[in-house]
């Protein structure tokens, strides 16, 4: 049962072939069996999951996700369920409300099984920055699963759930999806409500689906995309039917291949897999177009000004007053803030708050923050130029496959560079998807990244599906 896709589970529940309760029991059993090795979960809500499954079985209405077990990244609020962002500062926090995207998935019949591990406040690319210990890559447990949605990617790759919520700020859905051999999509900024997603960098953050197949990702996104009055940055636009043209193929599609996506640091195994993937798309009727995104190499520098600036502002709310950790002893109000925050936040989060506070402070704002926003415009201009010549841009999701746990832990800049190919999409607000593209010689998954213009999720899903139909890498599962 754990090998079923989400759409197979849903179809079976609708047809009465099996009950949502049987489905969730099988997945809870899988979690109990493999998660002690992988640590994808910070909190498993077995009772809540069984109760939700029973409600689906009892109800006559069988929605888009009827009876499908779903994992929730621990930076999405779920009413009454511990939601910590993998931070000590939110230990014990139980949200009094649900994130809109989660609420919509529940209304569609999804069965939430628990909350997954992440880099604290989604700041990281390996899930090692969790205050509760790292998650492990199911393809090689000595390696990191990527991040920050590492727990969610592990849950899906290791057959603990067919679907998981992720959130992407600089690559946090696509990069772990690539490193764990699953599908992950960052939608267009504004496609999905951010209400109830704990804010990291508000102009970049976006919730998206992690799944084993492209169809499952399409179906999952369908269930939670769309305007929400509770998020003023969600777009008041119709959501197209993402499954409608999924099998329509790529004949005539112009696929841009930017030379900057194949820099000197690209792992040869990644390079070989992506070259092969491009040939598959070509064979299926797509036209490959060599092109350039000249400001790609400035993405990381711009991102590491903009994201920490927004984070330093967003994380000001953790003051030890209304919720979260408060220091036991202090001398006055300012000291209470300082001690509570210093005790509650981990090192990387403190580092980014300091960086952002510095870049926004009087005298430095123009030189850093404004400069970064201008470069952000240049990055977006690169893409706007590209869409005149191509429909989709393709390249690796990550220049390297999964790295060893601890390998980059003491070198923040080496860790930041993991996101070199993923940060430009959120800076420009465009959607991107990572789809399994085979394995390196060391049997580590490689992800093919596809980027498209604003609101082109359907095109990206169709392209990814076309490639997936030919290759079927998703059928391979890690030995556990």
């Amino acid at each position: 049962m754990i090998d079923l896709t989400a759409s197979e589970i849903r179809d079976g529940v609708r047809a009465g072939k099996w009950k949502a309760r049987e489905v969730v029991d099988a997945h809870l059993e899988r979690i109990a069996a493999v998660d002690p090795k992988l640590h994808a979960y910070l909190h498993v809500d077995a009772d809540g999951a069984r109760a939700a499954a029973d409600r689906v079985d009892a109800s006559g209405v069988k929605g888009l996700l009827a009876g499908v077990p779903v994992a929730v990244k621990d930076n999405m609020c779920q009413r009454g369920i511990p939601t910590t962002c993998a931070s000590k500062i939110l230990e014990g926090f139980r949200p009094p409300y649900d994130a809109t995207a989660l609420l919509r998935a529940l209304a569609a019949g999804a069965v939430p099984v628990g909350h997954t591990n992440l880099d604290e406040f989604a700041m990281g690319s390996s899930t090692e920055n969790s205050a509760y210990g790292p998650s492990r890559n199911p393809w090689d447990p000595t390696r990191a699963p990527g991040g920050s949605s590492g727990g969610s990617a592990v849950s899906v790759a290791a057959r603990m759930t067919p679907l998981a919520f992720g959130s992407d700020t600089g690559g946090s859905i696509r990069q772990p999806a690539a490193l764990c051999g699953v599908v992950g999509m960052k939608p267009t900024y504004g496609r999905v409500s951010r209400y109830g997603l704990v804010a990291f960098a508000s102009s970049l953050d976006q919730i998206g689906p992690i799944a084993r197949t492209v169809r499952d990702a399409a179906m999952f996104l369908q269930a939670f995309a769309g305007h929400d009055a509770l998020d003023s940055t969600s777009a008041p636009a119709e959501v197209p039917d993402y499954e409608k043209d999924l099998e329509a193929g790529v004949k005539g599609l112009r696929v841009g291949v930017p030379k900057e996506f194949f820099g000197a640091g690209t792992d040869p195994g990644v390079r070989a897999a992506i070259d092969a993937a491009l040939k598959v798309l070509q064979k299926q009727g797509a036209t490959l177009v060599e092109m350039s995104l000249p400001h790609t190499d400035y993405g990381i520098a711009a991102y590491y000004v903009i994201a920490p600036c927004e984070a330093s502002s967003n994380l000001a709310r953790y003051d030890g007053v209304r919720f979260g950790h408060r220091a036991k002893s202090f001398d006055g109000l300012i000291d209470m803030y300082r001690k509570s925050r210093t005790e509650g936040f981990g090192e990387e989060v403190r580092r980014r708050i300091l960086l952002g506070t510095f870049a926004l402070s009087s005298g430095y704002y123009e030189a850093y923050y404004k400069k970064a926003l201008q470069v952000r415009r240049l990055i977006k201009n690169d893409f706007d130029e590209a869409w005149k010549k191509v429909d989709v841009i393709a390249g690796p999701t990550s220049p390297i496959p999964a790295f060893k746990i601890g390998e980059k832990a003491n070198d923040p800049i080496a860790m930041y560079l993991c996101d070199v190919l993923t940060v430009t999409a959120p800076l420009a607000g465009i959607p991107g998807i990572s789809v399994p593209a085979g394995f390196t010689e060391g049997n580590l998954p490689v992800g093919l990244q596809l980027l498209g213009k604003e609101w082109s999720e359907a095109t990206l899903l169709r392209t990814a599906r076309s490639y997936e139909r030919e290759t079927e890498f998703w059928k391979r599962s890690p030995a556990l």
Binding site: P96, I300, R351, L354, A367, K380
Partner: protein, 107 residues
């Protein structure tokens, strides 16, 4: 308020210990004295990396702060259901009856 104007192409910010201590106060964080030099050096390396942006001429480029282009999403100003007081206070680390308790702020 004085703004220090750095010529953008020669900017090389030196992240010193006193600067880091000042920023930490602004950010309401503490840096243990034994850690301050290491934190300053680390931030300095990141700032140096970020300063590669200065290789680009951005004169006249409009800053992009929000990729959607959406402006001013209004809603009608009507009362809606919201959290009860008990729910809103449930996660507070220190409370008395219906209040959040904090250290004295006015002498």
């Amino acid at each position: 308020m004085t703004r220090h104007l750095y010529p953008l192409f020669s900017l090389r910010m030196d992240i010193t210990r006193p600067l880091v201590e000042k920023v930490a106060l602004l950010a309401r964080l503490e840096i243990p004295p034994a850690d301050a030099d290491r934190v300053a050096a680390q931030l300095g390396r990141i700032v140096t990396m970020v300063e590669t942006l200065n290789k680009l001429d951005t004169k006249g480029v409009e800053p992009l702060s929000n990729p959607t282009g959406l402006v001013d999403a209004f809603r009608s100003d009507e009362p809606r259901p919201s959290l009860s007081r008990d729910e809103a206070l449930a996660n507070a680390p220190d409370k008395v009856e219906m209040f959040l308790r904090v250290p004295r702020v006015v002498e």
